[in-house]
């Protein structure tokens, strides 16, 4: 877990602006983590924005036909990349992975274990209106816990900042 966070923070350092880096250096990474409320995952990002909405699946919420109920989407907020030309763990062709991301802690019903999920936004292209939009908020917090916040455009640290879609990547165990 510690190595995982350090690895992501290293990428974050490389991707975000000077004041973030200086803040992290000034306060130490542990302090920086504590102040931001949790792990700001570097590498690819995610965190779509958007109000509550599960348009196509409103009548079957929680049912097997609802892709938003898939366990690792427990805190996703955005259009699914798997409906946008990508997959559960890959961004669509020509897009870029967000340089920072936020995480959720989701329980896999198959083994009953808790996993850390990185919700990365894919960036630089328009969203696909026909893609499924999910808004789940397990463990989500407002911006004072930025690493848990899903109402912000996590493409913000990229060169191309337009929000495209979101992936849900297992990055470690929660324990």
């Amino acid at each position: 877990m510690t190595r995982f966070i350090d690895r992501f923070l290293k990428r974050l350092d490389g991707a975000t602006e000077a004041n973030i880096r200086s803040s992290a250096r000034r306060n130490g990474r542990r302090s920086f983590l504590a102040r931001t409320g949790m792990a700001l995952l570097g590498a690819a990002v995610s965190v779509p924005v958007l109000p509550f909405d599960r348009r196509a699946f409103a009548s079957t919420e929680g049912g097997a036909a609802d892709p938003c109920s898939y366990w690792r989407h427990c805190a996703i907020d955005g259009f699914l990349c798997e409906d946008s030309g990508g997959s559960l763990t890959s961004c669509p062709p020509g897009s870029s992975v967000s340089a920072v991301s936020w995480v959720g802690t989701c329980s896999n019903p198959d083994d009953g274990k808790e996993y850390l999920i990185s919700y990365n936004d894919c960036c630089g292209k328009p969203f696909i209106p026909s893609a499924t939009f999910c808004n789940n908020n397990k463990g989500e917090r407002p911006g004072y816990r930025m690493g848990l916040y899903n109402d912000i455009n996590w493409c913000t640290a990229n060169t191309d900042k337009g929000y495209h879609c979101t992936v849900s990547v297992v990055v470690g165990m929660a324990d």
Partner: protein, 378 residues
């Protein structure tokens, strides 16, 4: 080319009109631009763009008909000035819509003519975040704007409105929102360690040391929403588990006053702009949902509860229609306006008294695609 096309079309139109007038003896119609929206009451609804422009729709409050709109960039915030004479937006324009360099822009619109009065750029660290009350505010004297930044490192950009440029960036690591003090140039922000921190800024851009409150909430077990309201001089926050936290921010540092638990039987607050306050009756409206659990804090409203802010008691529970954002008009006979998670607009008449109730009196489907904040001019 565009001008040539317009000229050609104009000539054709004039020629055609003359011919028709001669042949049928009719008066040619005059092309015009509506000078302004109608007299009366209006609703301003932010439809936030995530991949292109945002739009503020202006609707007639009587029949919910559309009278016009105002445009802004992506992830726009919306703020109506206290006198109702200006609508401000803060948003990001991407040069190639979804890629390339960006500009963060403050725009000021006339809410009656819907004309743009002016615009200026500010720091492009402006947070690209869902429209919310704590992300764009004016100082007590209206001379400065407080803009939430996020890169995602957080800071507050204090903007000199008269000069139309940034005054100073106040680093606020681990904190979110900026609610202005009622006097002077100062603001309070919510921090992830459970405290509120007040900063005071001088006209020369000097920034005070952060003035930190005691811990007033637990971000792990009982987090608070970012949305706060100014009620009778105090800042009022609301927790996920249904408590109102009344904070005095007038002194050196924020101080927690009354804590008012009001949720019962598994009900809890939820939504985005989830509170609205009617000052004349001291009634706070809160969107609520049942069977509350981890992750339900943004659920659409099943009911809207009314709380008397003198006693802290719940004085009404009314059926809702899946709203995610609400506001309430002023005056002795207020109306509550809500927008649901599918973009439908709902207007409720408010019956005041020892108990308070809402009666839906009009509704309109498809008023917005990604609705966020609502304001009224009445």
């Amino acid at each position: 080319m565009k001008h040539h096309l317009l000229l050609s079309l104009s000539i054709l139109a004039v020629t055609g009109s003359q011919v028709l007038a001669q042949e049928k003896d009719i008066q040619p119609e005059t092309l015009a631009v509506e000078a302004q929206i109608s007299e009366g009451n209006h609703i301003y609804l932010m439809d936030m763009g995530i991949s292109g422009s945002s739009s503020i729709f202006v609707l007639n409050a009587d029949d919910l008909s559309l009278e016009g709109n105002m445009g802004a960039g992506t992830f726009s915030q919306m703020l109506m000035s206290a006198d109702g004479q200006s609508i401000y937006t803060g948003s990001v324009y991407m040069k190639r819509y979804t890629r390339g360099p960006i500009e963060a822009v403050i725009e000021e619109y006339d809410p009656q003519t819907l004309n743009l009065r002016r615009e200026f750029t500010v720091s492009d660290k402006m947070a690209q975040t869902l429209s919310q009350k704590g992300a764009l505010n004016l100082s007590a004297d209206g001379k400065y704007m407080l803009v939430q930044n996020a890169t995602p490192a957080t800071s507050i950009n204090v903007v000199d409105l008269a000069a139309g440029k940034d005054l100073v960036e106040v680093p606020t690591p681990g904190c979110w929102t900026a609610y202005p003090a009622t006097e002077g140039l100062a603001f309070t922000t919510i921090c992830g360690d459970g405290s509120l921190v007040k900063y005071t800024v001088g006209a020369d851009g000097t920034v005070s040391e952060p003035a930190k409150s005691d811990k007033i909430f637990d971000a792990d077990t009982a987090p608070i929403f970012a949305t706060a309201l100014r009620i009778d001089g105090k800042l009022v926050y609301i927790s996920f588990d249904g408590k109102l936290l009344e904070v005095d921010d007038s002194g050196d540092k924020p101080v927690l006053g009354r804590t008012m638990p009001f949720a019962t039987d598994g009900w809890a607050p939820s939504g985005y702009t989830l509170m609205a306050y009617h000052a004349a009756s001291k009634t706070l409206f809160v969107m609520m949902h049942s069977n509350a659990a981890d992750g339900t804090h943004k659920n659409p409203a099943e009911e809207i509860w009314a709380i008397n802010m003198t006693s802290g008691a719940v004085v009404g529970r009314s059926a809702a229609h899946g709203e995610t954002n609400i506001t309430v008009s002023a005056g002795d006979t207020p109306q509550l306006i809500g927008v649901d998670h599918l973009g439908g607009l709902h207007r409720y008449d408010v019956t005041l008294g020892d108990t308070v109730s809402l009666t839906e009196s009009a509704a309109k489907e498809g008023a917005a695609f990604f609705p966020t904040m609502i304001a009224t001019d009445y």
